[in-house]
């Protein structure tokens, strides 16, 4: 019997599956469909939990050989054609697509992978050559981009408040970093851990943008979402979503606090990420040079070097980077001083 899928609520499928007036074969099929539907719905949550479980298994993971010479992880782009079913339709040869959004999503996801390999020797999102998946043209005039636990998704923007979200290289770096976080520190999306999760994505998204433009800390603008501001936002004087160097910036669409306080974790993670964002900018600025060379290395080690810690607090993360600044750069006390002062300046 061929399998056909319908958008029918689970309870209806379950009721029909128990209907004695229907043929056994049909009831069996309905039963299977209901079960499949329930399980598919749970896949997303399970994916994150599975990643966390795999990371905390009490035996070492077998080493996966890294290709030598290194090749970038495979990248795929899917087109949702303004629908909301993920991942959408696969695009053949996305790197040479006539659709600029498709091509940009492919080129940038590969470039982020190159950034993670060249700068941190990390092989893809999971560190094990995982295929990168991006879906574009999600929904109609969708004003957002997100990581859903297994892939990146980009909206076209409404052309007024926001433009095409693939236009921001920091957007792509931000979303892909949510994947890296899921496969390392496994931070939750709520509480102080949620704020740290968002901050990791802003920090590495901004670092990627600077790396791509070959900017040092003085030339970097530290703006998040600058390249996706639409005409209406610009007309109203907004230049970005968030400003890492000045979280309270009145020209930011989503201004943030610049100082930590107990209870900040009760607020939206995009709000509470202000202090750790500012701490990174201050540390990188004090150290000088390129942000990814020293401050970035400390943040990366703190993110990926100690296994999962889903409920990590901001003071715990700050303490870890302080400790790493000494152990990673034992002969340069100025780096520890820079990190220490940066956290102290934001109340941590």
């Amino acid at each position: 019997m061929s399998c056909r899928c319908f958008i029918i609520p689970d309870d209806v499928l379950t009721r029909f599956a128990a209907d004695p007036e229907l043929a056994d074969e049909l009831r069996q099929s309905l039963h299977h469909t209901a079960e499949l539907s329930r399980r598919l719905r749970a896949v997303r949550d399970q994916n994150a939990l599975l990643t966390l479980s795999a990371l905390t298994l009490p035996f070492p993971r077998p080493a996966i050989p890294i290709p030598v010479p290194h090749v970038l992880p495979p990248g795929q782009v899917f087109n949702c054609h303004t629908g909301t079913t993920l991942p959408g339709t696969p695009v053949a040869n996305p790197g040479s697509s006539a659709d600029a959004t498709v091509k940009r999503a492919y080129v940038e996801e590969e470039t982020v992978a190159k950034f993670y390999w060249d700068v941190f020797k990390r092989d893809s999102i999971d560190g094990h050559h995982m295929t990168l998946i991006s879906s574009v043209h999600y929904a109609v005039k969708f004003n957002n981009a997100f990581w859903n636990g297994s892939q990146m998704t980009y909206g076209d923007g409404d052309g007024q408040v926001f433009t095409d979200f693939t236009l921001g290289d920091d957007v792509i770096g931000h979303e892909l970093t949510h994947g890296v976080t899921q496969h390392s520190l496994a931070l939750s999306y709520s509480g102080e851990a949620g704020g740290l999760n968002e901050s990791m994505s802003d920090v590495f998204g901004s670092m990627f943008r600077q790396w791509e433009k070959k900017q040092d800390v003085k030339n970097a603008d530290w703006l998040i979402g600058h390249d996706i501001m639409g005409p209406v936002s610009k007309q109203k004087g907004y230049t970005c979503l968030r400003n890492m160097a000045n979280p309270k910036d009145p020209h930011a669409l989503a201004a943030q606090p610049d100082h930590y306080y107990p209870g900040i974790g009760n607020l939206d993670p995009h709000y509470s990420s202000g202090p750790p964002n500012l701490a990174f900018e201050k540390a990188a600025a004090a150290i000088g040079g390129h942000s990814w060379e020293k401050a970035g290395q400390i943040w990366y080690k703190a993110l990926t070097g100690f296994g999962p810690s889903p409920s990590m607090t901001m003071p715990q993360f700050a303490a870890r980077t302080r400790s790493l600044s000494s152990s990673m750069y034992p002969s340069d006390a100025s780096i520890h001083t820079a990190i220490n002062s940066a956290w102290a300046a934001v109340g941590l």
């Binding site: 719905r41 909301t84 907004y238 995009h270």
Partner: protein
Amino acid sequence: MLRSILLLIVLGLLSACNREQPLPQQKVTVMSEVTIEQMGGFVGAGSPGGHVRMRGRVAWSALSEADRAAIDRLFTAKTPVNANLYYRLTRQRDGRTETVDALPEQVPRALAASVQTTLE
């Protein structure tokens, strides 16, 4: 004396019998609309310091039976959401405000499509 007491008892019983019995309370569920707000993602709309709001609303009567049932299931299950992007649904039910968070794929398209972005 005894006659008076009996009289009082009888009057009391009669009074109790004549008292109007309250009608059994009919459970009337009143719902006028569902509001929806997009939260999180790269934009993080809805954060306290933010100027971006992504909200929509749909009249309960404008939703299909299937969509109403799907929404009812979300409010019944109230499963916590731990996701980068999610929707917050709110409705008034029998004078009480109910709120639940849901993943994009759980929200009926008619409701998700009502979301409009505004700058405040």
